[in-house]
Amino acid sequence: MNKPLLILAILAAVVLSIRTAAAENPDAESLVKAAFEHYRGQASKAEVQMTIHRPSWERTLTMSAWTRGEADSLIRIESPPKDKGNGTLKIGSDMWLYNPKINRVIKLPPSMMSQSWMGSDFSNNDLAKSDSILHDYRHTIDSTTARDGMRLFWIKSMPKPDAPVIWGMQKLAIREDDIIVAQQFYDEDMVLVKSMQCDDIKMMGDRLFPVKWRMHKSEAQGHYTELVYKQLRFIDGLPDRIFTLSNLKNPRR
């Protein structure tokens, strides 16, 4: 074992042991909050490969993504060449799409929110309301199992009364080191609609991160969308100018 890795391993072990000690009796609310902070950070820049798989065909895109805090993100497609430059900007819960071929920005209307994003198994709502689980749901620990030698908390999230939510229930599987390994989406009748698996937990940037995210709808066998993080960097902040319509249209970097 070479030296940096060894140090890293020791460091990780120390960090983990502190965490486990502190989280002897974790409460669900803080678990969820910590998990989201863990995977979001202050801000991040990532390169992601998205594979849309269907029984008869498959399609792979690569894209760059910038996120800041809970609500702002910018995603730009890098390949295939045909779709290069197509972008999605999200500020708060508003979303805009940009297409370079016609050089237009379209603001997504509420009626299109349930449609699929870029033909994937993610809906526009999955992006636009990604922070909804933090604010609109109450969390309770459903069960505790073990995974990778660590405790795994299954958290049941029920919407708060009158919260404008899409899902009737969500379930989160969070490892005790704050890594989300699964998220399940249920409708009002508590039927599983789609679920996401996060695998391949590796060091990305400065922290452990699941590199492979796979979303599939329960009704469609053999249909799934897989995100693979090729690069991920957590940073302290990103300037406002990144999350603007003009940057969506004319990338400055």
């Binding site: 269907r54 779709d83 603001k107």
Partner: protein
């Protein structure tokens, strides 16, 4: 012997002219009403089906199996020309066209709506659907297809969608959706025409662009989603459907093609018709029952009035069965007279309105959903002429049977004592 009974019956009828005429009138009126209403109903169904079918769906469509339910971009008819040549070989097929659909976002500078973008073959489409005639503002696609390539994609927009977007002829429209290969499909179109089909759902949610433009924007290649077929008449549709299915299977054994008729394509239309028919049948049933009771009443009254007469006939030795036969013959003649008059008048009235049409433009709010926007023409057929009157005839004969059978329980003495 029978002739004597018939003669007696005939004379008996005309002994009280007013009563006879009133009864006959009731039967006649019921028959006229039934003939007219049934013809009107079937006429409006034909109008509904044809109008609805002519606006968009066509009599039949050939699609990839499963496309109708799932509407997935990838489920295409890969060789539309070859499919069309197979369909064209069926004698009862009149015209056909190709279409491709994609649910997309259409937007102006500040508004965006989801809409179905439909690629149509301009020249063929004009023969198949009424789209060209329903253009309210602007014009249809130039059929010569020699528009300068640098121009924006021409587009026709439904009037309600145009209203929602706040656009008119000459304005630009951004269309953004997903191509067949999953890529982003986007184009800027110029509105050249606005159509008002009368079908609100259609006018609110569709945009039409030329098929060639559609195929390049949505990376469809030469594929389409629907081959739309119009037969020479509605009646020929089942025949065409069977023939097309068989020939396509023969010619393309590997292709997963489905032949759908208008009943499959617009199931709501068929259901609306069934519902309306059931409501109609209930109405007619009530009408027939009312008529039957009034006739029963007339015959019963006549019986009471003539009890003394029957007593005398029985006293001089007439058999009761013979009296019954006379009474049945009377009612049969009376009903027959009424029905014949009803059929004649009913046919005349219906034919008059069939030629002239009934204006329903005032109340077209609901009807326009089914594509009826103007006049309804009743449609006289053998069935509509025969069905109503024969039921009336049967019911009245049955109700007349009751008084006739009552005679069998009379004794001459009782009858004579009756005043």
């Amino acid at each position: 012997m029978l002739t004597i009974e018939l003669k007696m019956a005939w004379r008996n009828i005309w002994r009280n002219t007013r009563r006879t005429l009133l009864t006959a009138c009731a039967i006649c009126f019921a028959s006229v009403l039934l003939i007219f209403m049934l013809s009107l109903q079937f006429g409006s169904y034909a109008t509904m089906i044809n109008a609805s079918v002519k606006i968009h769906t066509g009599h039949l469509q050939i699609q990839a199996a499963g496309y109708h339910e799932k509407k997935r971009m990838r489920m295409v008819v890969p060789e539309p020309e070859a499919v069309a040549s197979v369909v064209a070989s069926i004698a009862a097929v009149d015209v056909w066209t190709y279409r491709a659909n994609a649910f997309s976002m259409v937007s102006t500078a500040d508004r965006t709506y989801g809409a179905l973008v439909i690629g149509i073959a301009p020249e063929r489409e004009a023969h198949v659907s009424t789209l060209k005639q329903t253009i309210q503002n602007g014009r249809y696609f130039p059929t010569d297809d020699r528009s300068t390539p640098s121009d924006l994609t021409p587009a026709l927009v439904g009037c309600l969608l145009a209203e929602n977007l706040g656009i008119t002829v000459g304005d630009e429209l951004t269309i953004m959706g997903q191509g067949r290969d999953g890529s982003v499909a986007a184009t800027v179109a110029r509105v050249i025409g606005i159509y008002k089909s009368g079908m609100d759902g259609f006018d609110r949610s569709t945009v039409q662009i030329p098929l060639t433009a559609f195929q390049s924007i949505y990376t469809m290649g030469t594929a389409v989603h629907e081959v739309v077929v119009i037969g020479s008449s509605l009646k020929k549709v089942p025949g065409i459907k069977a023939a097309a299915a068989a020939r396509l299977k023969d010619r393309f054994p590997d292709a997963d093609l489905a032949v759908l008729d208008w009943e499959n394509l617009v199931p709501g239309l068929k259901q609306a018709i069934s519902l309306d028919l059931v409501m109609g049948v209930i109405m007619y049933f009530i009408l027939v029952v009312v008529v039957a009771f009034s006739i029963l009443n007339t015959f019963l009254m006549a019986l009471f009035e003539r009890t003394h007469e029957f007593g005398i006939l029985m006293a001089v030795g007439t058999q009761r069965s013979r009296l019954t036969r006379v009474l049945v013959a009377e009612s049969a003649m009376l009903t027959f007279l009424g029905s014949i008059a009803g059929v004649v008048i009913g046919i005349l009235v219906t034919l008059y309105f069939q030629a002239r049409g009934i204006d329903v433009s005032g109340s077209s709010e609901i009807l326009s959903q089914y594509g009826i926007s103007g006049k309804i023409h009743p449609r006289l057929s053998f069935f509509t002429v025969i069905a109503g009157p024969s039921i009336v005839y049967l019911i009245t004969i049955l109700s007349a049977l009751y008084p006739a059978l009552k005679i069998r329980r009379m004794t001459p003495l009782e009858a004579l004592a009756h005043v």
